[in-house]
């Protein structure tokens, strides 16, 4: 705790990391909308024939129309959100910095060939370039305003007019630099700038979607929760971008009829790995509800409804799980076993990989099904919940025994 708090605190105050995290998470609803398109496709694939299949197939062009402008253009929206978040952290007013970030992003990513825009870098492959564009643009704005490098108007000029003139210098500066980078990359690197970035980041991008990386993420998440800190809120600063990019790539691949590659998506983390809340605590919650110890049963009853929707803070703080020696082993290490099972079953093809990103806060199994359109994923979720209950059980019994002794002592 002594070491974790200052790190979490520093990370929270680091403007760029927070802007990336908050901005990228803000664009998740756009992938959720894009996911509806893949769900139509998935239902058609599941059915294979019949009137519903015929109807879906005949109208598939219309039903999946939006995916080209949501998931496949994810980087555009993420760039805007990240730039907007960072500019707010710098107290820069208005939308100018965020819109300038879009200008920079398009210059870098939307390669023009034979008079046509190439949109292939506007989706997940452009995400990292989008982050660079957003941070870079807002930094330039910030520097310009700090050093007062802008065109000043006389006092009597209306503030709106002043603002648009003030935005001119950073806008021009950003545009010049972006044009220079885009063309340098094309002439010297012989590739478009986003491709260059993807080549540089390739080891990280492939490395994050592996079992060891996933286990490290889960371990840190659970450990932070054990110390009472919101695990995903802190660790997602590192993995959210990757997981969201993987998800968008899966959706695009599925829509295009290509094999789906990634396992570690944003939806998978919340819908399967943290189903009913970090630590897969539904079983523990039910054990507590039925407990003879009043302190445990009262917390169990308060927590059960939020738990069903993936919110287990009442349980974590009420039991309490935090700093509870009985809970350390099942809460921190149980989910690692569950994560391994999920990764292996998906990697072996026993359970379908995520092809959509469902909305958050759904009851257990529902988001897994919407995410994979594979009924086996629902079975997997319940197997995990039962297994995790088995992990909790002996430790729960020890904890309950101690609680009962305390309660009896109080009665005397």
């Amino acid at each position: 705790m002594k070491y974790l708090m200052p790190i979490a605190n520093k990370l929270e105050q680091q403007k760029h990391i927070q802007a990336i995290k908050d901005g990228i998470v803000a664009s998740v609803p756009i992938i959720i909308v894009g996911s509806f398109c893949t769900i139509f496709l998935g239902i058609a694939n599941l059915l294979g024939s019949g009137p519903v299949y015929d109807f879906l197939s005949a109208n598939m062009g219309v039903l999946t129309y939006a995916s080209a402008f949501t998931t496949d253009m994810l980087a555009v929206y993420a760039t805007y959100f990240i730039a907007k978040t960072l500019s707010e952290k710098y107290d820069l007013k208005g939308s100018q910095p965020a819109v300038t970030a879009l200008v920079v992003f398009f210059i870098l990513c939307a390669v023009v060939k034979d008079g046509q825009l190439n949109t292939s870098y506007l989706g997940s492959t452009g995400l990292f370039t989008g982050i660079i564009a957003a941070l870079f643009t807002v930094e330039i704005y910030h520097i310009c305003y700090e050093r007062k490098w802008y065109i000043k108007m006389p006092e009597s000029v209306p503030p709106m007019v002043q603002d648009s003139f003030a935005a001119l210098v950073p806008l021009v500066l950003n545009t010049i630099i972006a044009v220079a980078i885009a063309n340098l990359s094309l002439s010297f690197g012989k590739v478009a700038f986003p491709q260059l970035i993807m080549n540089i980041l390739a080891p990280a991008v492939t490395g994050m979607d592996t079992l060891p990386a996933l286990l490290i993420v889960m371990f840190l998440t659970q450990l932070l929760w054990f110390f009472g800190l919101h695990g995903p809120s802190i660790t997602s600063a590192v993995w959210a971008t990757f997981a969201i990019a993987y998800g968008a790539e899966n959706i695009a691949a599925y829509t295009a009829g290509q094999p789906v590659q990634h396992i570690f998506t944003f939806g998978l983390f919340y819908g399967i790995l943290c189903v009913t809340g970090s630590g897969l605590t539904l079983g523990l919650n039910i054990l507590m509800m039925r407990s003879k110890a009043k302190s445990l049963s009262s917390v169990g009853k308060v927590s059960i409804i939020p738990s069903l929707f993936g919110i287990n803070e009442p349980l974590i703080f009420g039991t309490p799980i935090i700093l509870n020696p009985f809970m350390f082993i099942p809460f921190v290490f149980g989910p690692l076993i569950c994560t391994t099972i999920v990764y292996l079953t998906m990697n072996l093809g026993l359970v379908g990989k995520p092809i959509a990103n469902p909305p958050g806060f759904l009851p257990p199994g529902v988001s897994a099904f919407l995410m994979t359109l594979d009924w086996k994923s629902v079975v997997l979720v319940f197997v995990l919940l039962i297994l995790q209950t088995v992990f909790y059980y002996p430790f729960f019994k020890m904890m309950e025994k101690e609680e009962l002794q305390k309660e009896q002592a109080l009665e005397k």
Partner: protein, 97 residues
């Protein structure tokens, strides 16, 4: 008194919002309360008297305080878990002195 509650997604703290309103209704106190996600805290500048943070975001208290410039503290874990509205109101009053 205007109390802002903040947690990671504005979800778990929204449980407490209802409980605070229930208590305020009983005691007849004039209390305005709402829950937001930490990510959108910037939109709340100047709107509230005091901010209570979910204990899971205790590491964000400093950052939230810098942005809102009002008294900010994290809620006692047990009170948060049991959604104890009365304890939360008590705490908000104490913070305001």
């Amino acid at each position: 008194m205007k109390i802002l509650l903040c947690c990671n997604a504005g979800m778990s703290s929204s449980i407490l919002v209802k409980k605070i309103r229930d208590v305020a209704e009983k005691t007849g106190e004039d209390i305005e309360v709402s829950a937001v996600a930490n990510a959108s805290i910037k939109n709340e500048v100047g709107k509230w008297d005091v901010c209570l943070v979910g204990p899971q975001l205790v590491f964000a208290v400093d950052s939230i305080h810098q942005q809102l410039n009002i008294p900010v503290a994290s809620i006692e874990p047990r009170a948060y878990a049991m959604a104890d509205g009365a304890a939360a109101i008590e705490m908000a009053k104490k913070l305001l002195g």
